[in-house]
């Protein structure tokens, strides 16, 4: 039997369009022929599906039309609710997440900021440790007693108060001008200088430059006797890498010699106004002169790296000239004449040190 004829028959059968005779024949055919029966079932199913489909489609069409009509009437208020609803739903849906996220973000930023602050402070402190030394007064009392015992009745002016800090300075002009570190001057309210023989002199800060960390002190004490010739000179040019250097300073209550070499032509963080040295220094060496083998002052000890071994920074001696220029501009009456010839050239080290140690001072104060 042709498929199309069968389809036609099934449709007519479903619609009840068959005559009783046809119907009986068709039913008999289905019973006797399973293939036809199977085809008839499939056709029936398809036609039923088509029917349902048609119904649903028509119904959906009605729904769309009703919805459109009601939307137009404002019963299904679309626009005013739509925008607001989105915001509300988003907020409602995520308010816990947002709150948690905000908390985490807040915590994170606080923690990060804290860490950064803590770390940078650490770095600042650790990177450059100023070499101004704190004095333990008991030792000093003892030393004083020793001095008195050694030198008999005291001839030098006695310090009015026990000093708290100690650093180093050295004469650049026999009239009583010294160079030391700016951080030393900044720390001290009153400044005294003491030479290797234990003589004290009152001094005042003439000028301090925080950039190069250098300061000029002037001894105001009348007891100070002008020195005619300073044995060392101040070098104007850069020093070469690996040149031998030595320094004198007061990391303790006694002058201490240190030896090393120039390890870099720039200081902390590429600071071209300073050198990096490898030399042993300690708190109290601040402001100490750094000299080369010819007895030229090439720099001034300023600080050392706290978390690296033997990394010391020294301001270049050229900075002293800049400082003097600045002082000249400020005050014409102060004329500082730097020594220009080194009398230490060719001498061996102990003699060099012996000749110059009288002009290196301990800078103390509180």
């Amino acid at each position: 039997m042709d498929d199309i004829l069968l389809l036609q028959a099934v449709e007519r059968y479903m619609k009840g369009e068959m005559s009783a005779q046809e119907k009986a024949f068709f039913e008999e055919l289905r019973k006797s022929n399973p293939e036809i029966d199977q085809a008839a079932v499939e056709h029936t199913f398809l036609l039923n599906q088509l029917d349902k489909h048609a119904e649903t489609k028509a119904y959906k069409h009605s729904l769309y039309e009703v919805a459109a009509k009601l939307t137009a009437e404002g019963v299904m208020s679309e626009s005013p609710l739509k925008g607001k609803a989105k915001v509300v739903s988003f907020w409602k849906k995520y308010k816990r997440n947002i709150a948690v996220a905000a908390c985490i973000a807040g915590l994170m930023s606080i923690t990060t900021a804290g860490l950064i602050i803590a770390y940078t402070q650490k770095v600042n402190q650790s990177n450059k440790e100023d070499l101004i030394g704190k004095i333990q007064n008991t030792n000093r009392e003892l030393d004083k007693l020793n001095n008195k015992l050694q030198s008999g009745p005291a001839t030098n002016p006695v310090l009015p108060q026990n000093p708290d800090y100690r650093a180093t300075g050295f004469l650049i002009d026999g009239k009583g001008y010294l160079v030391t570190n700016a951080h030393v001057v900044n720390r001290l309210k009153s400044v005294y200088v003491e030479n290797a023989r234990g003589e004290y002199f009152k001094a005042v800060s003439v000028f301090a430059d925080n950039n190069s960390d250098l300061a000029i002190l002037k001894i105001t004490d009348t007891a100070f006797k002008t020195v005619l010739n300073l044995p060392y000179s101040i070098r104007k040019n850069n020093l070469d890498l690996a040149e031998q250097i030595f320094t004198l300073g007061f990391p303790r209550n006694e002058i201490v010699y240190g030896e090393g070499y120039l390890s870099a032509k720039s200081g902390n963080d590429g600071d071209s106004t300073a050198y990096q040295l490898t030399v042993s220094v300690n708190p109290g060496n601040s402001g100490g002169p750094v000299l080369n083998k010819n007895g030229e002052v090439i720099g001034i000890i300023t600080s050392k790296e706290k978390n690296a071994d033997g990394v010391v920074y020294a301001a270049k001696s050229m900075n002293i000239f800049k400082l003097l220029d600045a002082i000249k501009k400020m005050d014409d009456t102060q004329t500082i004449k730097l020594p220009n010839n080194s009398g230490l050239k060719g001498l061996d080290r102990p003699q060099q040190v012996k000749k110059m140690e009288d002009f290196v001072f301990m800078v103390v104060g509180n």
Binding site: D3, L7, E42, L50, H53, T56, Y59, L70
Partner: protein, 188 residues
């Protein structure tokens, strides 16, 4: 007329695809459903979608002829919408886990399953129809969807007589049958 009888009338209308009945149900129930969906991470468009689906479920039930509403129509619609919406949320992975069990609902699982089955069938038929090509599509659409008689169809499509149109219609129906059952098999 009692509330129950009124609702029965409305459902009968719904089964007949009667506009007024549809509109009445929309007016009475849509605002409640929209409020529910807006309060549960949805928007107005989604509310419309869900309500329309619930209306189809209702239609399927009403037109099956064996539907007896044993609760308020409002409760039934709310139950269906709620179920559909929670299902949708789960699919979208937006389910927030909040289920207010205080709600008065009736079990609608079976209805929704039946509806989903019918929905799949609907989509399969829609696909099959879209693939049979013209003029078959228009011809079948005119006869089975729009229920036009064969004379009119023959006239509209330019067949010389209704019998030719009828033969063509059966040929188209055979094609549709092949496509439809092929898809049913694929879908299963």
């Amino acid at each position: 007329m009692s509330n129950l009888e009124q609702e029965k009338l409305v459902l009968e209308g719904l089964a007949r695809n009667d506009r007024q009945s549809i509109e009445a149900i929309y007016r009475d129930n849509y605002p409640m459903i929209q409020a529910f969906i807006l309060n549960n991470s949805g928007n107005a468009d989604e509310a419309k979608d869900i309500f329309q689906e619930a209306m189809i479920v209702l239609f399927e039930k009403a037109s099956s002829g064996v539907f007896e509403l044993n609760c308020q129509l409002k409760t039934y619609i709310y139950s269906v919408c709620r179920r559909l919406w929670l299902k949708r949320l789960q699919q979208l992975q937006r389910y927030s886990g909040q289920s207010d069990n205080m709600d008065e609902t009736v079990p609608v699982e079976e209805e929704i399953e039946a509806h989903e089955k019918r929905n799949t069938d609907f989509i399969i038929m829609e696909n099959a129809m879209s693939k049979i090509g013209e003029p078959c599509k228009s011809l079948l659409d005119a006869y089975y969807m729009q229920k036009k008689n064969m004379q009119d169809i023959a006239k509209n499509f330019g067949y010389t007589n209704a019998d030719n149109a009828k033969t063509q219609k059966y040929k188209c129906l055979m094609r549709l049958k092949k496509l439809f059952f092929a898809q049913v098999k694929n879908g299963q």
